[in-house]
């Protein structure tokens, strides 16, 4: 993909203060006064002020993007600070949107910051996106990503996308007018439970900067019309190998939303499309979920139970429930776990928050252990209610 026309018209002028501030941009011939004026006039919306949103917002602000919108409803948690560098220690418990705004204002008070402290969904996304030139995605789940994609296609907005997991990152620019969209790359989301989130699998903090910096670079290029945009290409970063590779992303003529015969012509129900939990797991958990209080009672009265922790070894090491045996969920899905079950005891499964244990419970029920149960809220609920002196993650 060669140059695209600049996305934004230039502002009328830069003030003396702005010329001083942005001088290192202004003396790059490709950016110059013209490019900086375009950035000044630009309105960029960042969905999420978390891992990817942190570096993205900070650098967009420093670069002089005139208006930055932030969609974020969460509050800052201590476990965010390992990577979400827009927030600080004193922000714990504060609204992420407000904390992000304060950091932006400290870096560049000339930026107009709009806070949208709401959960992005089908009812508000169109009105929100319509106010901006370009959308940067820093969300952490498939449902929101498909929602953002579809809204961007319907409104013909460029969608600067990035995604991270452990040591791997991916980035691309989706813009159906000029190339493929997210659905062209990944037509369907994985079934729930198949792909772990960062909360389950972890993420190297600095990976956010590696991928966020690609997103900001692409945003600036699109806004000012310089360089070759990452449209129709997927950048794949491997931090362990320290490699960047790219593969072609083709526009899919059969794409459900931007193909020749689209079947998605308006926003759909994205929670249902992606599913928070599989149907089998939901069925298994119904009437077979106990509370941590019940579990404590069973443990205290020596009830004949086998308590199994289905998380990963690293998670077990951080915190565990006394008396639990570790058998990761994968072993249930592959079948190897079943022979480790004690048929003389009632099986009680738990994980971090209750999603993975529900998936494993479906397997255990299917194997004939009909009275097996899982613990709602998992080890997080256990620490919260039973052993508050233990750490959470």
């Amino acid at each position: 993909m060669s140059n695209l026309p600049p996305l934004v018209e230039p502002a009328a002028e830069l003030t003396v203060e702005e010329v001083r501030r942005y001088s290192r941009h202004l003396i790059i011939p490709d950016v110059g006064m013209d490019g900086q004026k375009r950035l000044k006039n630009a309105k960029v919306l960042c969905v999420g002020a978390g891992g990817l949103g942190s570096p993205t917002l900070l650098y967009l602000a420093a670069a002089g993007v005139g208006t930055l919108g932030i969609v974020e409803f969460d509050v800052v948690d201590e476990s965010n600070l390992q990577r979400q560098v827009i927030h600080g220690q004193s922000d714990i418990g504060r609204s992420k949107a407000e904390s992000a705004r304060d950091s932006i204002k400290e870096i560049n008070p000339l930026v107009q910051v709009n806070l949208h402290e709401e959960r992005l969904d089908s009812t508000n996304v169109m009105e929100l996106f319509a106010q901006y030139d370009l959308i940067v995605d820093g969300t952490d789940n498939f449902a929101t990503r498909y929602l953002v994609n579809d809204a961007c296609v319907l409104l013909n907005k460029p969608y600067v996308w990035g995604s991270i997991y452990r040591f791997d990152g991916q980035a691309s620019v989706f813009w159906s007018e000029y190339g493929p969209c997210y659905r062209c790359l990944y037509p369907e989301p994985p079934p729930p439970g198949m792909v772990p989130s960062c909360a389950e699998g972890g993420v190297l903090g600095v990976l956010c900067a590696s991928i966020g910096s690609i997103q900001v670079t692409e945003a600036i290029k699109l806004l000012t019309g310089i360089g070759e945009p990452l449209v129709g290409r997927l950048m794949i970063y491997d931090a362990l190998e320290m490699t960047y590779r790219q593969v072609k992303v083709r526009k899919d003529p059969d794409c459900a939303i931007c193909g020749d015969h689209p079947t998605v012509t308006e926003l759909i129900d994205y929670e249902a499309f992606c599913g928070a939990i599989s149907e089998e797991a939901a069925d298994a958990a119904m009437d077979s979920t106990i509370t941590v209080t019940q579990l404590k009672e069973w443990l205290d009265t020596d009830e004949k139970i086998q308590l199994i922790d289905v998380r990963e070894p690293n998670e077990y090491e951080i915190v565990n429930i006394p008396g639990s045996t570790l058998i990761p969920k994968g072993e249930f899905l592959m079948g190897g776990a079943l022979e480790k079950l004690d048929p003389t005891k009632r099986i009680v499964l738990h994980c971090k928050s209750g999603v993975r244990s529900a998936e494993a419970l479906a397997v255990v029920h299917a194997a004939g252990y009909k009275d097996a149960v899982h613990v709602g809220g998992g080890v997080l609920a256990w620490v919260n209610q039973i052993e508050p002196e233990k750490p959470t993650y």
Partner: protein, 91 residues
């Protein structure tokens, strides 16, 4: 053993942490069969129960998405490379 297969982090539990493994040539289907022989369990992460490529995992032969070529029938040339790229949503 002349084809290189790139394994994403999320599937390296099957390859003892190796980021790259080598297999002999053939079609993509044959490459995946060999992967399964050497690293049991990996096939089910790439193919569904009907043996089709999963829609949230992209497989590239020499940087071209096989969905736009011959799918599992795509020939992998000598010294070619195969990349498995699963969808991730972390942010």
């Amino acid at each position: 053993m002349s084809i290189t297969v790139r394994i994403p982090t999320i599937l390296r539990t099957y390859t003892d942490g190796k980021a790259e493994v080598s297999v002999a040539g053939g079609t993509l289907a044959e490459v995946i069969d060999q992967l399964e022989t050497d690293h049991t369990g990996i096939r089910a992460r790439v193919l569904d129960d009907d043996g089709k490529l999963r829609r949230f995992v992209n497989v590239y032969v020499n940087d071209d998405d096989v969905r736009f070529a011959e799918g599992l029938g795509t020939a992998v040339p000598e010294n070619g490379n195969v990349s498995i790229i699963p969808a991730v949503a972390g942010g």
